[in-house]
Symmetry: C2
Subunit: 475 residues, 2 copies
Amino acid sequence: MAKGITKRADDYAQWYIDIVLKADMADYSPVKGCMVIKPNGYGIWERIQQHLDRMFKETGHVNAYFPVFIPESFLKKEAEHVKGFAPECAVVTHGGGKLLEEPLVIRPTSETIIWSTYKNWISSYRDLPILINQWANVCRWEMRTRLFLRTTEFLWQEGHTAHATHEEAEEETVRMVHVYRRFAEEYMAMPVVVGRKTEQEKFAGAEHTYCIEALMQDGKALQAGTSHHLGQNFAKAFDVKFQDRDKELKYVYATSWGVSTRLIGGIVMTHSDDNGLVIPPRLAPLPVVFVPIWKSDAERDVVCEKAREITRDWDPLFYRIDDRDQYKPGYKFNDWELKGVPIRVEIGPRDVQNNTVVAVRRDTGEKQALSMDGLREHLTRLLDDIQNNLFARAEQRTRDNTHTVDDYEEYKARIDQGGFFRVFLDHANPEVEAKLQEDTRSTVRCIPFDAPDEEGPCMITGKLCKGRVIAAQAY
Amino acid sequence: MAKGITKRADDYAQWYIDIVLKADMADYSPVKGCMVIKPNGYGIWERIQQHLDRMFKETGHVNAYFPVFIPESFLKKEAEHVKGFAPECAVVTHGGGKLLEEPLVIRPTSETIIWSTYKNWISSYRDLPILINQWANVCRWEMRTRLFLRTTEFLWQEGHTAHATHEEAEEETVRMVHVYRRFAEEYMAMPVVVGRKTEQEKFAGAEHTYCIEALMQDGKALQAGTSHHLGQNFAKAFDVKFQDRDKELKYVYATSWGVSTRLIGGIVMTHSDDNGLVIPPRLAPLPVVFVPIWKSDAERDVVCEKAREITRDWDPLFYRIDDRDQYKPGYKFNDWELKGVPIRVEIGPRDVQNNTVVAVRRDTGEKQALSMDGLREHLTRLLDDIQNNLFARAEQRTRDNTHTVDDYEEYKARIDQGGFFRVFLDHANPEVEAKLQEDTRSTVRCIPFDAPDEEGPCMITGKLCKGRVIAAQAY
């Protein structure tokens, strides 16, 4: 508790907030429900952006930008969409000192403004596909907010694609949920289940929604990314047709897909511990910090000079030398541990003599002596180890906390302890999902892509169901 | 006029809009005054961001993100600031279906929300300096808009720094206007005058404002970036004090600085011609396009295969092979010329035999045969040539259109022909600037840093002034 961090075992929710605030990732804002993303948190977002953006471009997408304002009437053009989003909107009624003729909504998501624009861009099959992504802020008025996980304004990316056929749109929807899966696993070191949302849980305006779901340390699920097949719903709402090769006029098929700053909350809750934040090396703004150790000014000069010498040709984004005079090494160790830097390198006068340093892993706390010769490569390998270990640890935990349950009484008895529950549930019936939620505050997270081909009775109604779903309490 | 682009000589304003629309850089939006930035325009913004962001980081800055919403009362805390910005604000009055207790303004700039937050982050000299930048959208309700140059919503970056002393803040203000100058000249190939704004033209809430001003092809000035010394104005408005080394409580000094998507308009108006957009190579989303030329399918296979062979190991962001079947080479030449790709590489069957290609420069239209051996290096050098030539050409034009005038009648006679006018003007007197604007629709663009040490009579009042200012009609 030295750093003022509540222990996970005592109060997980408070632990989370303590980490976010004390590791200087985010701060509350004077505007209710909004957050300030501080440099230590934003640095992670920049790395998320960098890698995802590359993955989007490798799959043929380009970036663009659409207005933050949406005429209120646009939202109403797609019946399901307006039902889902209108209650959460922030509304601009005045501009330039005057009452507006039509109120403008701050985008909660951009399907409507984008499809009203695509109408002007699409007339022939030659104009398709359109594969556009945008990085933007969005606003959904939330009653109960939590830093990164649920805020009124948040940052995200939203892909919006247009296709000539249902099949192509389906391929795109699947492709992008797998891009998210790969990003979650390879960069965030966060194992996920990939699957389809139920009818009740799908996006407002979608034909169906695919998602990735991760299990947090406290046994709650986090929806980490979604990819929607929008069918022709938005093309019909905005009258977007194209002349196909066969000369016929047809409505365009759409997809949309997004991840947000919520992912940063997922990183915190997947890897961090009672000593502070743990960041997977591939997303760490600062992978390595050197803490020189000295007693006298003469020693200070020697160790700091040596640290500078070793790192002379290194990428400045890879490391930092913490030569602050006003703090003792112990304080610095704690500080960098709290902030989640993957490797701390200690270097004292004796290390200089021995041509070694001591490297301390953030994930395990393990110390090891490393030769100064080839140190950059040693550290790079160690970072890979840490990345792999974090993933393996999270995967083991997810496996240990994934339960197969057939009896509803057992489910009710165990659900509050957390975990993914593989169950048979008649989710085609909305009343069943409603009852599940009412009884247990849990929901169907997804119908997994890789569910084994089994049949069994719905644990609530007894009706025969094909394939198990994943149910859990969720953020 | 083949591409539907108005000639500059006929109607410069229409030419500008034609370029932006036909080169697929931006589109109008259903929301009045807002724009859609299309992939061809956004690609330039991504490169602007990439280089500027690196330059900010090299000068010690980090990124963060503050809320888009600002409580209306915050804006009012700094008297000059609210006068400047309140009339331009978009106001959110409803959220989540309810009337808000206090209206929220969409940020027109973020000094107030940021300084209300810095108050919680600063208590000691040890907390200073704070060197933060954010990339964000902002909104200023505009009556007359023009794509990229003046839109209700635009994208920008805004740096907000906090310092212990007036001197440090002044150093930062100067440093950043020079970062902008360097970026404009080295990346945009756009020469600028660096100077100080007059009291009338400075930022609302600043002690003083530095700026870079560029001369467009039509002889109008474009303010391309500003850097403000805010003194203690915002610290006083939000009560932000720190305990200094001498134990005294002092108000913090502030700077802010920004450039926006307006820079893209500056690129168009500095370099483009009657055939379309011209993009300086260092900011070009696509530096090189290959146009294979064939008559038969057999030829098609040969030239396309050769183009792929040559480029096998190249960075995919550096080039593209335009092997579209549905268009003839002539159409493609026009299309890529219109879109401003710096080098077009033509490759036909005879080129394949000769082991050469024909490279065509977008800036001059000049063609040259290049060997396929070492082509990547040839092209890189050619891109450097183009970058340098664009700058030299713009610099020459700016020099040719910078006039030294002492007589107000002469000024009035010449101002409508455009250009930078070096004049003596008693800008300390607000009435003088008001008269200048009324008589001539021109303003003082800046008091240049490098103005020679001269004295002369104000061209309007005759009062003796020190140093000439730059006056011009401006965007």
